[in-house]
Assembly symmetry: C2
Amino acid sequence: MKKAGTKVSVAVIRRLPRYYRKLSELRQRGVVRISSGALAKDMGLTASQIRQDLFCFGGFGQQGYGYNVEKLREEIGDILGINRGNTAVILGVGNLGHALMQNFKFGNNGFSVTAAFDVDDSLVGTKIGSVQVYHVDELEEYLQTYRVDVGVLTVPRAFAAEMAQKLADGGVKGIWNFANVELKLDKPDVIVENVHFSDSLLALSYMIGEPIYEEERENENE
Amino acid sequence: MKKAGTKVSVAVIRRLPRYYRKLSELRQRGVVRISSGALAKDMGLTASQIRQDLFCFGGFGQQGYGYNVEKLREEIGDILGINRGNTAVILGVGNLGHALMQNFKFGNNGFSVTAAFDVDDSLVGTKIGSVQVYHVDELEEYLQTYRVDVGVLTVPRAFAAEMAQKLADGGVKGIWNFANVELKLDKPDVIVENVHFSDSLLALSYMIGEPIYEEERENENE
DNA sequence: CTGTTTTTGTGAAAAAACTAACAATTAAAA
DNA sequence: TTTTAATTGTTAGTTTTTTCACAAAAACAG
């Protein structure tokens, strides 16, 4: 659909999951079709932007009709790689790793978690849900044996760099990094996606202290 | 420092916490001064961008010298509101809320957590660390009694909207939203900061499937 | 003390992102 | 069936963001 070699901007890519989420919600509510205008209003964007974004990947709509919710959702899901059968392993079954394994719906996002790793011997050998916990020492061999697309890094920050390197050496394509450090890898083909809680909270901290942000919001709602 | 009424772009604000984090790290390593060029190289940005970003708030550097790490860190911290004595309450002491309370360093980001709320009677009355857990029914009164700047929303998605409304009605300035829903509030002066795990994972999913992103990364590292 | 190098602050240029506009097409109404 | 209204794909224009370029200031070397 998209011209080969064409680069889609990061800004667009960051909006795709939001579209997917909104379309999933619409589908669940039984909505069959939606126009870019209605979607825009619902999401606080402009209709133009939505059409432009989708245009990057080819037209999924129909003039005079709009977009079929089910079909558009499928298309965006495909673009995002939801049907690619991605696999992930969890590094660090502490509080956060545990919470992710128990609460986060990896399956809804096209990932299956195939293993977890920790150094704590009281965890090794147990199962979280249906996922086996291995000792970190077994990581290397595991990565050589099974295809793992993404490593989820939920270890304490002190161990993050070392674990990230092991994941990269083991051939993962991406690292979902929850450790509060900027990872530097020698493998440039490994994508690092950071989830920095503190960055998020500090941005919020700034915004609640700046009256100008309130004004902006008011205009937005017209 | 910044001209009153001037709006700083969101892109800049999102970089400030990264600067703060990097400067904290440099300070800890005993680095006293740094140039925009060195900082840029370390962070994968351009020197120009860093100077431009800081220029939004006034000049913190010195020509021919660079930036004093300690001083710049302080300044950015002030801009972000780290010394404003912000308070936060946790809504939902499930897996994630618990993990945040135990692992996340609110203090490092200028926040003190003053209370937590849940519906589970087996949790109500207990303490997580030094933080008391109250029943959600007591939220309204609590918000009327104490100043709460931010509500941390870690409830199941089904309850997110309702709880968000209570927080907004109670007068919080911001909501740190971990529930996987787009919140719609009738109070436009309440800032919502979303932490959407699934959006993040799906963006990563897209990028590991697109060879073009690898190329981009390679150029970045020159 | 003088000259050279470093480095910022800042305006201008370039690039990227977003919005507007509209012909082409479809759906719905008359 | 014909007309009217709705809506997309797509190009062009506008705005925002990023990068470039360089004078001014400071540090450093000799």
